[in-house]
Every structure is written in structure tokens, then in C-alpha cells.
């Protein structure tokens, strides 16, 4: 056997054993393969639907005019309103709004649509009631009603509008909201696979003295690390392929980029996330030490990396920090590949951040590793 082959023998022996071991463990199979799929199905159904915004409103039409009843049926047809039919008076609506169960009440007063004495055309004013705590909801609703009024007005007054806004949602270009959500779900899976695995497995192995048995041999830490990283990168890729197939089949994911690029990002992302888990699990003597530290690392990443909340909604200070959190460039890269067919060259800045973190995390993991 050549020296090189001998040096890598522990790695090449460990990887297939470690992968087989996973498939013999029903609990591990559930957490690695099934749980992310359940997560995908739940979040995919929540975020995958097309009716993205829906206002819970009560409509009180006090007018007998035809214009008023047309307006109400138009409101029903938009699909933007989730109309609470059970409410009959304003007092009950106010009461429900104060409890946050209703966004607004739209009142069409009795004189709406009637012709005032000096005017030839009918007129009216719709009233929108909203709770003080729901300012933004009220404003949005007001502008929706404004535009509806405009179309009503155009039936009576023929005016040409020189400046208009034409909105075009990206959904018309073939991208659904799911396509965006999916990269967050993938990122979350990478995060939980990479960190929760080693932070529970390694401390348990230490307490049983399994790692100490390895320490008694000539096995080197880097050989042990490399074996674990490779087997986990493989398992991570497999889990994500499964999610990807489900996303395409169930949620009609539009994949616009290259599968090879995506696989590279997923593999690199697994290596980084697993490195974080390795640093924590390799350092911790027992699960009591590992659990709080891993929570401390996972929670901020989960909330600041755009898994659940879009980064652009955060304050600018936070956005700047967010960019440098390990998970953010991974999710961004996945999103850019899926939705914009980004090349690895386009992803240079993201890859630079990921690369930097890999160096830092693995130096840390080597320094902190303990066999017992």
C-alpha cells in the first residue's frame, strides 16, 4: 500500500461504514430524511398558495343603490377580502377588531350612490374603520379601495389619466412565492442536519468512551474529521435531493439554474454547517454542554438568515450583520441559482463569505476538539 493510500485509509474505510450506519437507524432516518420533508410540506402549503394577502373585513352595505351593490360584489370577486359574514353591526365589528380578529370594517353609507341635488352624477363616500394597532393594514386597504373607486368613477366621468402605475408581479414571469420560500426551507434543513447531528452524537460517544478508544489508536483528528465531513456531506446531499424532487413534483418548483451549481453550494453549505456542529460537539464533554450552545448558535441564524423572515424587511443595521452570518450566503446562493440561474461566478461574494467561515470554523473545531 502506498503511503498516501495508507494515510487516507481511515477516511475511505469510515465513510461507507458511517453512511450504512445511518440507514440502520430508524430514528436517524426519520430526522434526516422524513422530518425535512414534513417541514417542506407544511411550510410549502402555507407559503405556496397564490392568494398571498387576505384582509379579514366586515362589509356593511347600508345603501340601496345599484352602484353600492355592484361595488360590494366587485369586492367579493377580487379575492383580496376574507369577508366576515356573521357581523351585522359596527359595534360588534369594533369589538372584534380590538381583539385582532378583524382587520377592518368597510361601511357603505345609505346615501352612497344617490344623486345629490346639484349634481348630474351620483356620488358617495365609503368609510373604512380599522384598529389603531393595525395602521399598515388600514392604509393598504384604503389604497385598494381608492383604486376600486377609480374604476367606479371612470364609468361616470370620462377623464384620461396621463400618469399611471402599472404593476406586474413576478408571479406572471413564472416564479411563485414557493420558489422563494424553498431556498429558506433548504437552508433550514442544512442548518438542522449540520448542527443537531454532531452536537448530540459526539458528546454521547464521549460519555461512552467510544472516542477515547479511537484516541488510543494512531488515528489523527483530521482523518476522523474528514471521514465525518464526507459522509455527512453525502447524506446532506441525499436529503436535499429528496426535498428537491418533492418540491418539483408537489409544489411545481421552477428550477432555472444549474443542478451542478446547486449541488456544489449544498455540499459546501453542508461542510460549513457540519463544521459548526463539529466544533460544538467536538468541544462539549456531554450533552448538557452541547445543547445550550447549539441553541445559542442556531436560533439567531434561523431568525436572521432569511429562513423565516425576508432579510430586506429588517432594519439596515441588522441587514449588514445578517449578510455575514454563515447561513445567509448559503440561502442567498440557493435562491439565486433556483430563481435567477446564477453562475458560481455570480455567487463570488457569497462563496467568499462561505469560504471564510469554513476556514474559521474548522480551525476552531480543531483547536476545541476533545476525545473525551
Amino acid at each position: 500500500m502506498s503511503d498516501l493510500k495508507r494515510t487516507f485509509l481511515p477516511v475511505t474505510t469510515y465513510v461507507p461504514i458511517d453512511i450504512k450506519r445511518l440507514f440502520r437507524d430508524k430514528v436517524a432516518i426519520f430526522f434526516v430524511f422524513i422530518f425535512p420533508l414534513i417541514f417542506l410540506l407544511i411550510f410549502g402549503s402555507i407559503f405556496g398558495g397564490d392568494s398571498s394577502v387576505s384582509f379579514r373585513v366586515a362589509i356593511f352595505n347600508q345603501s340601496q343603490s345599484e352602484i353600492a351593490s355592484n361595488l360590494v360584489s366587485q369586492m367579493r370577486d377580487t379575492g383580496l377580502f376574507n369577508i366576515d359574514e356573521g357581523l351585522t353591526d359596527e359595534v360588534a365589528a369594533r369589538e372584534k377588531m380590538s381583539r385582532g380578529q378583524l382587520d377592518a370594517a368597510i361601511i357603505v353609507p345609505s346615501e352612497f350612490g344617490s344623486t345629490q341635488k346639484d349634481n348630474a352624477t351620483p356620488s358617495g363616500e365609503v368609510k373604512i374603520l380599522y384598529d389603531q394597532g393595525n395602521e399598515s393594514g388600514g392604509q393598504t386597504l384604503a389604497s385598494i379601495m381608492d383604486s376600486m373607486m377609480e374604476s367606479v368613477n371612470s364609468q361616470f366621468v370620462n377623464i384620461s389619466v396621463p400618469f399611471t402605475v402599472k404593476t406586474e408581479s413576478t408571479a406572471t414571469a413564472g416564479l411563485s412565492r414557493f420558489d422563494y420560500t424553498f431556498s429558506g426551507i433548504l437552508g433550514f434543513t442544512l442548518l438542522s442536519l449540520g448542527i443537531f447531528g454532531p452536537t448530540s452524537v459526539f458528546p454521547r460517544m464521549k460519555q461512552k468512551g467510544v472516542l477515547r478508544r479511537y484516541e488510543a489508536t494512531t488515528l489523527k483528528v483530521w482523518q476522523f474529521f474528514l471521514g465525518n465531513v464526507l459522509s455527512n456531506a453525502f447524506i446532506g446531499l441525499l436529503a436535499l435531493v429528496l426535498m428537491f424532487v418533492s418540491a418539483v413534483v408537489v409544489f411545481k418548483l421552477n428550477m432555472r439554474g444549474s443542478y451542478i451549481n446547486l449541488a456544489i453550494i449544498v455540499a459546501v453549505g453542508t461542510v460549513l454547517m457540519y463544521g459548526i456542529g463539529l466544533a460544538i460537539g467536538g468541544w462539549a464533554k456531554n450533552e448538557n454542554q452541547a445543547a445550550p450552545i447549539s441553541q445559542l448558535v442556531v436560533l439567531p441564524m434561523m431568525f436572521l438568515s432569511g429562513v423565516f423572515f425576508p432579510v430586506f424587511l429588517m432594519p439596515e443595521v441588522l441587514q449588514n450583520i445578517t449578510r455575514f452570518i454563515p447561513l445567509t450566503p448559503i440561502i442567498d446562493s440557493i435562491r439565486l441559482i433556483i430563481t435567477e440561474n446564477a453562475s458560481l461566478l455570480d455567487l463570488g461574494p457569497q462563496l467568499a463569505v462561505i469560504g471564510g467561515w469554513i476556514v474559521i470554523i474548522y480551525i476552531l473545531a480543531f483547536k476545541l476538539f476533545r476525545w473525551e
Binding site: M1, R6, L9, I17, R213, T217
Partner: protein, 252 residues
């Protein structure tokens, strides 16, 4: 006299103010079974772990096959096989896979099944370690310690918790290992085990070696000092009765 396989001089280990191993010195000859005896907490395991390169040596010197243990731990690790007090292995892993991996740690490829045959476990080749009995686990651990043909084999209280049949079987295995030319250094707190198995023993108490010789010589010396047992010694004891009734065959 040939050079000893292990040379220990003034070996010392402290934990804080407590001196756990207190400047002990002894030699282990090539091809012998050397036992370290003593009550719990005497410093046996710590001594063993220092010689296995698993604990830093605070003071004194230890050499194995002429190599300084503190200075060249990687070289020492390649020469020794280690049996921990409670051997544990990664779960859901076949015995053959574990042997293959442990051999690969030394850069070696081995015939796992024939190694298992050596410790009478060939029919368990595809079992997982968590499904083995205590005695089987100990025997498997011996097989994993021999994957790289070591010169010295360390065993830490190998028969604690085993039934009489399993203990006897293990003694036979240790003797076979010694007979294949491997030097054995073991700890125990069972005197019958030491008397039967060890060529020489060191008795430790509170971190110091208080006696070192062959079991026969130590007994003879004691009798010379006028010691006599208060109770009349029978020609057999309860364990003999037990073995006579249940047989020597392994139960697992």
C-alpha cells in the same frame, strides 16, 4: 538479561494537590503477563493510561520498547493495543466493520472474520456491539486491540462484572495472547485472577507500589513471616463447586 519491554522510573501523576501516582518504578519483561493489583482508587488505571499515552506524565520517565512514551506518543500508539475498562463501540455497526475501521486507523487492512474467530466470535460477525453480552464485548475488545499486531497489550480490569465461565474464558485468551509473543500489562482487583494469570505482580496502594514479585514468591514471603490463615483451608471453594456444577462452557 534482555532489555525490558517497559521501563518505568519515578512515574508521577497529580490532580491538583492530590498525588494519584507517586513516583513509582518498575520494569515489565518482554513476553510476560504483568499485573498491577490494588484496591479501587490506588492509581492502577491512571498508571495504565499514562503508559498508553492517554494521560500526560507529570514527572518521571517511561519507555516502551526503548521509546520515550511522553515524547513520541504516535510511535507508542502503533506498538500497543488497548482494552479499556468498559469497552464501548459505535452502535449499529457490524463487528467486522468496527474491526476494519480500527485496523484502518493504523493504516492496516485485516481479515476481520479470522480475528473474530480468534476470540470465538465468528458467528457474531454481522451483529452490532450493543447486542453482545458483557463477556462477548470484552472478547471483541481484545480482537480490536490486536488488529495491528501490537508488541504490548494493556488490559484494564478486564473481568469486572463477568460470570465465572466468562472470566475463565478470558483468562485463556489472555494467556494465548501472551503465548503469541505479546507482552501483557493488566490491572485487576481480583487476587485469584492475578495469582492464576500473572507472571509478576506489583501491588499498589495510595499511589505507591508496596510490593513487586511473582505471586508465588509474595505468598512464600508472607508465610515466612509467620502468617497463617485463621480458618482451615479446604481443598476446594464455592467457586470450584459452581464450576463443577455448571461446567466451563460459555453462557451467552
Amino acid at each position: 538479561m534482555p532489555k525490558p519491554m517497559i521501563q518505568v522510573k519515578d512515574l508521577t501523576k497529580r490532580y491538583g494537590d492530590k498525588t494519584v501516582v507517586d513516583a513509582i518504578s518498575f520494569d515489565v519483561q518482554k513476553g510476560e503477563i504483568f499485573g498491577i493489583l490494588g484496591p479501587n482508587g490506588a492509581g492502577k488505571t491512571t498508571t495504565l493510561e499514562m503508559l498508553e499515552t492517554m494521560r500526560p506524565i507529570d514527572n518521571g520517565q517511561a519507555k516502551l520498547n526503548g521509546i520515550n512514551i511522553a515524547k513520541e506518543p504516535q510511535k507508542i500508539k502503533a506498538l500497543i493495543g488497548v482494552q479499556p475498562q468498559t469497552p464501548n463501540f459505535e452502535e449499529k455497526t457490524k463487528l467486522t466493520e468496527l474491526i476494519n475501521f480500527l485496523a484502518s486507523c493504523y493504516g492496516e487492512k485485516v481479515d476481520a472474520v479470522s480475528l473474530l474467530k480468534r476470540v470465538n466470535l465468528e458467528e457474531k460477525a454481522n451483529s452490532y456491539p450493543e447486542n453482545l453480552s458483557g463477556g462477548q464485548k470484552q472478547r471483541f475488545s481484545i480482537a480490536t486491540a490486536l488488529v495491528h499486531n501490537p508488541k504490548v497489550f494493556f488490559l484494564d480490569e478486564p473481568t469486572t462484572g463477568l460470570d465465572p465461565q466468562a472470566r475463565r474464558n478470558l483468562w485463556g485468551l489472555v494467556k494465548e495472547v501472551r503465548d503469541s509473543g505479546i507482552t501483557v500489562l493488566m490491572t485487576t482487583h481480583y487476587m485469584d485472577e492475578a495469582e492464576l494469570l500473572c507472571d509478576r505482580v506489583a501491588i499498589m496502594d495510595e499511589g505507591k507500589i508496596i510490593a513487586l514479585d511473582s505471586p508465588k514468591k509474595l505468598i512464600k514471603d508472607l508465610l515466612k513471616r509467620g502468617f497463617s490463615k485463621q480458618q482451615h483451608v479446604e481443598q476446594a471453594n464455592l467457586e470450584d463447586v459452581f464450576i463443577d456444577l455448571t461446567g466451563k462452557a460459555l453462557r451467552e
